[in-house]
């Protein structure tokens, strides 16, 4: 039983990181209608930058954290300006392909700079586990979930109250109307990419603290798909919920299904669930249905 609870907890932790990455993903989709296959690479980038700042530059973690976020924002900004902007008006599939190309480019780039070995963060959080109702939880888990939840709350507030957040929601709802209101679409696009890179970066730092940093981190990019589809591609709360659900689902399948299938079901179960959900609700749990008009 304790084993189950442990797994569930780590599922929630991973789920919170999925939720973060999914948030960035949905943000980009909502405001620019682009599916970003490089979301995992953005996460990996954040993890490596932060790691380098902490281990090589010997900066305090908090400082590294902030600098990483700045760097991630810059990167998101740059990617949008350099690569995505020229693709406006091209077919969806070309834009998807472009983000796949970006993923490949970043993979190669990161690989060249940092190599392929796994690196670990120095112990930043206390190794002493916390105990709740008899279940030991490592502190880094608690901080991760807390950080993730704080981020999600912050971004929620940002969208609700800040002017650029509101503008972003307006663009997501109706580009033309937003433009007519004097909102600069290209600025919103850039902000969306910057935020997406920031949240992915945070996710990367958190997961890096838990699992160490290597190039397989980019697989988180793939995992985000079941999460966002589950929630509905254009729903931020949906994405967050979807992230948690997928995290927990993975944990559960690890416990109950792996023994039956010689392991590895974690990878596939979320996708099976995804297909089932889509067959029942084609626009996910919270996605908006397009009304067809002629």
């Amino acid at each position: 039983m304790e084993h189950v609870a442990q797994s569930l907890i780590s599922g929630i932790v991973v789920g919170s990181i999925y939720a973060l990455v999914a948030l960035g993903f949905v943000l980009i989709y909502k405001s620019t209608a682009v599916i970003n296959f490089a979301q995992g690479e953005l996460l990996m980038f954040g993890a490596y930058i932060c790691l380098t700042l902490v281990t090589v530059m010997k900066l305090p973690f908090i400082v590294s954290f902030v600098v990483t976020l700045l760097a991630a924002a810059m990167l998101g900004f740059l990617l949008e300006r350099l690569f995505l902007r020229p693709m406006i008006g091209e077919p969806i599939i070309s834009v998807i392909m472009l983000t796949i190309g970006l993923a490949s480019l970043m993979q190669g780039f990161i690989h060249v700079i940092w190599g392929s070995d796994t690196m670990v963060f120095p112990a930043i959080f206390s190794q002493e586990p916390l105990r709740f109702a008899g279940i030991a939880i490592s502190q880094v888990y608690v901080y991760s979930v807390a950080a993730a939840v704080i981020c999600l709350l912050l971004f929620n507030l940002y969208f609700r109250f800040s002017s650029s957040g509101i503008a972003m929601r307006a663009v997501a709802n109706d580009q033309q109307a937003a433009q007519a209101m004097g909102i600069s679409i290209s600025k919103i696009f850039a902000i969306a990419w910057a935020i997406a890179a920031i949240v992915a970066g945070i996710g990367g730092i958190l997961i890096g603290n838990i699992n160490g940093v290597n190039t397989s981190l980019s697989s988180f990019g793939l995992k985000v798909f079941p999460a966002v589809i589950l929630g509905g591609l254009d729903s931020i709360p949906g994405a967050i919920l979807g992230g948690f659900i997928i995290g927990i689902l993975e944990a559960l399948s690890g416990i109950y299904l792996d023994p039956l299938f010689e392991g590895g079901t974690k990878e596939v179960v979320p996708f099976i669930v995804l297909v089932i959900i889509l067959m029942i609700k084609p626009y996910g749990l919270f996605g908006t249905e397009e009304i067809e008009k002629i």
Binding site: E90, S94, L98, Q107, G108, G264, E267, Y283, I294
Partner: protein
């Protein structure tokens, strides 16, 4: 502007012909002769022949993907896995039941078509990106099956498959296999071309461009989407079968998501909705890593420590090339070729 002065059609058959002028027929003839001569000229180079074989086998699968994605507008991220289904099916049928190669090939096509159609069912309700992700799910699920169902696929150890043979003749070298692959590639090209210029092809494009009006003029959407998935997967299955018998041993990594992505890049770089572009795109994507290897090869042999870096660089450059292509040639090589042709066709005018 129509083809050429002095070309007039007296029947509808002539008007619908693929090659309309004697000049274009002549060049097709030259091309066929060149393709047949190729392996004799480069008989000494197993490497070149291997690349040629890879291109020919890949063209078949890429055509299938373009029929589905480029012509029907249904994005698929699971094509690599469908190729795998064909490869495993063909290998299994031959190993277990001793079915002759041609039988395996055709059956592999049909089995893959059925699998493809099953995964195409969500297309009834899903559109655009949602569908794309559903096909990604197909990729992940099938990959899982490849690894886990060891009894059929040999799992990650791989499956040994005997070479293709027809009436006792073994296609067991790059040289011999070339002709087999060429035959099927040409057949696939002709079939694909015929499909797109007749009833089903028109229905596909109608669904891609405006599915609502397509349905209102009498095209049953679901039926045709399924047909598109079926045909596309059939092509993938045949390609997979050829690949399996060519390479001799297949493992799940041969059919992972990267393969799906490679096939997508072939049709995008070649030109969505263009048979001709599919061929160009396939050649390009197959050759690109080879060229990068040719460049990095000598360097890495002088600096062995850097091998790892060069590998990573290759991956990065692959991504960069795709990006540059999409930004500067978004309509693909076929479009560029058409522009060049038009330039001369209209010369010295511009319209």
């Amino acid at each position: 502007m129509a083809i050429k002065c002095g070309v007039y059609k007296t029947t509808y058959e002539e008007d619908e012909a693929i090659w309309q002028t004697r000049v274009s027929k002549f060049w097709i003839g030259v091309l066929i002769v060149a393709l047949l001569a190729f392996p004799f000229v480069f008989q000494g180079s197993k490497y070149l022949l291997h690349i040629a074989d890879t291109v020919l086998i890949s063209i078949i699968a890429a055509l299938g993907l373009n029929l589905l994605t480029g012509f029907t507008g249904q994005i698929s991220l699971g094509h690599g896995a469908f190729i795998g289904v064909g490869a495993y099916a063909s290998g299994y049928l031959m190993n277990q039941f001793g079915i002759p190669f041609i039988g395996c090939l055709v059956l592999a096509g049909f089995i893959t078509a059925v699998v493809g159609m099953i995964f195409g069912i969500p297309s009834l309700r899903l559109k655009g990106l949602y569908l794309a992700i559903a096909t990604l799910a197909a990729q992940v699920i099938l990959e899982f099956i490849f690894i886990r169902s060891r009894g059929v696929t040999g799992g990650s150890q791989g499956l040994l498959i005997s070479p293709a043979s027809i009436a006792g003749f073994q296609f067991d070298s790059e040289f011999k296999f070339y002709f087999l692959a060429l035959f099927f590639a040409v057949l696939a090209i002709l079939i694909a071309k015929n499909i797109v210029r007749t009833k089903p092809g028109r229905a596909f494009m109608a669904i891609r461009d405006r599915y609502i009006s397509a349905e209102i003029i009498g095209v049953p959407l679901f039926q045709y989407k399924l047909i598109a998935f079926g045909i596309s997967s059939f092509f993938a299955g045949v390609s997979g079968s050829l690949w399996a018998h060519y390479i001799g041993i297949i493992t799940p990594e041969h059919f992972n998501v990267m393969v799906s992505i490679q096939y997508l890049s072939m049709i995008i770089i070649g030109g969505l909705g263009s048979i001709y572009g599919t061929i160009l795109g396939t050649i390009f994507i197959v050759l690109l890593p080879e060229i990068l290897r040719a460049i990095s090869g000598p360097l890495s042999s002088s600096y062995p420590i850097l091998i790892d870096i060069f590998n990573a660089l290759r991956e990065g450059i692959f991504g960069l090339v795709i990006i540059l292509f999409l930004v500067f040639e978004p309509d693909g090589l076929a479009h560029r070729w058409k522009m060049i042709k038009n330039y001369w066709k209209l010369w010295p005018f511009s319209y």
